[in-house]
């Protein structure tokens, strides 16, 4: 029992308030889960802040916590940050942002990689958020994605989508795909993957039913993207992604943004707030920079020849 009591004493001692902070600016980042796209987003924020003169570790106090996929932990991370009262809290992905929004009406919150900020009730108005919240949404240009798929593989009639019906972002995206794809003569076949270990089987369920596969910016599926690539290569089904990071992992193409640039855009907004602007006066921004990424090696494995005019448009080509 003694050891346990000692442990409790240590616990109580640590509950003492932190020493007062200096004049340097502070930014706290809460992220729902660690995966390459969201991590790239975080790096973008850090780099953009550095470019704006706020260098983490030098004149900027930079704190970061990942909730490891648990909304309960995200809530506790939010409470920790609010207690520390940084100059800006940055929340990557919807549940992390909602936890912060529920607990503070005063500390500026900049969200990033939230697909539907109005649906998530983070802001009521995209142009004039009004309160302490603004940010960057990562809603994909779905119509452009559908047209790109059609240009590269004109024979596509049935388009498969693998996504997690438990992710708010993905559900909005899939609804958009279902309204955009029929406009250019494609029908949509859905495959649900509730967790990353389901992704391989969900993709397999599409074999024989689809002519191409499109992966939206879905945290679950993107974190198990290699499984999708494996199936697509084996069954020779052309695979397309919404985020450019997935191209080097094995998708043929993505006409998208990468999360590093989303992060940079977010970081620029954070810097504006650190310089004195009010988040309520700053409109929620959509992704401003989209680029075409191609992976010709993956295309060859899936039996696709990418037209040369498209190759010329690409910003980055993996051969």
């Amino acid at each position: 029992m003694k050891a346990l009591r000692l442990g409790l004493l240590a616990l109580m001692a640590s509950i003492m308030p932190l020493a007062a902070q200096g004049a340097e600016k502070s930014v706290a980042i809460t992220q729902i889960v660690a995966h390459p796209a969201l991590d790239a987003c975080r790096k973008g924020i850090k780099d953009a802040l550095a470019d704006a003169g706020y260098v983490a570790g030098k004149n900027l106090k930079w704190t970061y916590e990942s909730a490891q996929g648990s909304p309960t932990t995200a809530a506790q991370v939010a409470q920790k940050f609010i207690g520390e009262a940084p100059d800006v809290i940055v929340a990557i992905a919807t549940p992390s942002a909602q936890s912060v929004a529920a607990n503070t009406k005063t500390i500026p919150l900049v969200f990033s990689a939230v697909t539907d900020p109005v649906g998530a009730k983070l802001v009521s108005n995209m142009e004039h958020p009004g309160k302490n919240i603004t940010g960057v949404t990562d809603l994909s240009p779905i119509g452009a994605h559908m047209r790109l798929i059609k240009r590269i593989v004109p024979t596509v009639k049935r388009l498969g989508i693998v996504y997690n019906p438990g992710e708010a972002n993905s559900v909005s995206l899939v609804n958009l795909v279902k309204s955009e794809a029929p406009k250019i003569g494609m029908s949509v076949v859905e495959a649900a993957a509730y967790k990353s270990s389901d992704v391989l089987d969900a993709t397999r369920s599409l074999v024989g039913k689809v002519d191409a596969i499109y992966i939206p910016t879905d945290n679950t599926v993107v974190s198990a993207f290699e499984g999708v690539v494996k199936v697509a290569e084996e069954a020779k089904i052309p695979l397309f992604a919404a985020d450019t990071d997935s191209v080097k992992r094995g998708a043929i193409a993505a006409a998208g943004f990468n999360y590093y640039d989303v992060g940079r855009q977010t970081g620029a907004m954070v810097a504006r707030i650190l310089n004195g602007e009010k988040p309520g006066d700053m409109a929620v921004e959509g992704v401003s920079k989209t680029e075409l990424y191609l992976n010709l090696r993956a295309a060859a494995k899936m039996g696709v020849t990418v037209p040369t005019d498209i190759v010329k448009e690409a910003k980055d080509v993996i051969r």
Partner: protein, 301 residues
């Protein structure tokens, strides 16, 4: 640690105190390892949030959530006592079914309650800050639930339920309807968990279908940790231990979040949980009367 993080940990700890009381009822009283809670926690959140955004009074919505949780518990118990499915498996079946059901109830994976009226809205008009008022109110709620549970477990009905858990054959021989008690106990247990889920959604501003991740582990950690700190010699002490265990667990997590000086990060929290539960089981020596005593071991203190 700031007072905001400290009170936040107390708030979450009290909410999970309700989970711990539910887990205590299934795991300790009925000896029924119940994973349903990973589904009934988000079920409570889903039911209350869906009703609140469609304009239902938040108190009624919370009551409905409690009822939904009770149904989930009944489902698991029914699979076990009527269909003779092993308890652990029965609870896993209900848990995975609830994932789909929760998505159906909400119609989407995430419902935001930011700005909607919740049971906590009245606290905004108090002269004290929300982050102080909420834990105080929750403490009262948890205390009332704890005392009600104590009374129940000391009643004729509760004694029969405890007998069912300790030795169901013996209980049956004494004329106890053990099937009924498993059904009732599991219903109460999951009703408490769903209440916790409903209150969590309302205090944190959203219901998300992933809310259930690891709830059972946290519940067990609270129950076992509580037993280590408050020896469960009586029902009163046993349920008190659950609540204290839950709060200490959250404080330990908050500590881990704030322990930059030892280099701990959130990714270490699962490891910390495992270490805490192990310590809680080993440190108190052989004081736990609910566990068989080893022939050789450290002396009783």
């Amino acid at each position: 640690m700031s007072s905001f993080a400290f009170l936040g940990a107390i708030e979450t700890g009290l909410l999970f105190g309700l989970v711990a009381l539910g887990v205590f009822l299934s795991f300790r009283v009925l000896e029924f390892p119940d994973l349903t809670v990973d589904g009934s926690f988000p079920l409570g959140a889903a039911v209350s949030a869906s009703l609140i955004v469609s304009g239902v009074n938040p108190y009624l919505a919370t009551l409905a959530a409690i009822g939904a949780g009770a149904l989930a518990g009944l489902m698991t118990a029914w699979l076990n006592v009527r269909l003779k499915i092993l308890h652990l498996l029965a609870s896993i079946l209900t848990m995975i079914a609830l994932y789909s059901i929760n998505l159906r109830i909400m119609g989407r994976p995430n419902i935001a309650l930011l700005g909607d009226d919740t049971v906590f809205t009245v606290l905004q008009n108090l002269p004290i800050a929300m982050h102080i008022a909420t834990p105080i109110v929750l403490a009262v709620v948890v205390l009332v639930v704890k005392i009600a549970l104590d009374f129940f477990l000391s009643s004729q009905l509760g004694l029969a339920m405890r007998a069912t858990g300790i030795n169901d054959r013996m209980a049956r021989a004494q004329g106890v309807n053990t099937k009924f008690h498993i059904l009732l106990g599991m219903a109460i247990s999951n009703a408490l968990v769903a209440l916790a889920g409903a209150l969590f959604a309302q205090s944190q501003g959203f219901a998300d279908v992933t809310l259930g991740v690891g709830v059972i582990v946290v519940g067990l950690a609270a129950v076992i940790g509580g037993e280590a700190i408050v020896p469960p010699r009586t029902v009163f002490l046993a349920t008190l231990g659950c609540v204290i265990g839950s709060i200490l667990y959250r404080l330990a997590m908050a500590l881990a979040l704030n322990a930059d000086f030892i280099g701990l990060k959130t990714q270490d929290l699962n490891l910390i949980t495992a270490v805490l539960v192990t310590l809680a089981m080993v440190l108190p020596g052989m004081r736990n009367p609910l566990r068989p005593r080893r022939a050789k071991g450290p002396p009783h203190d």
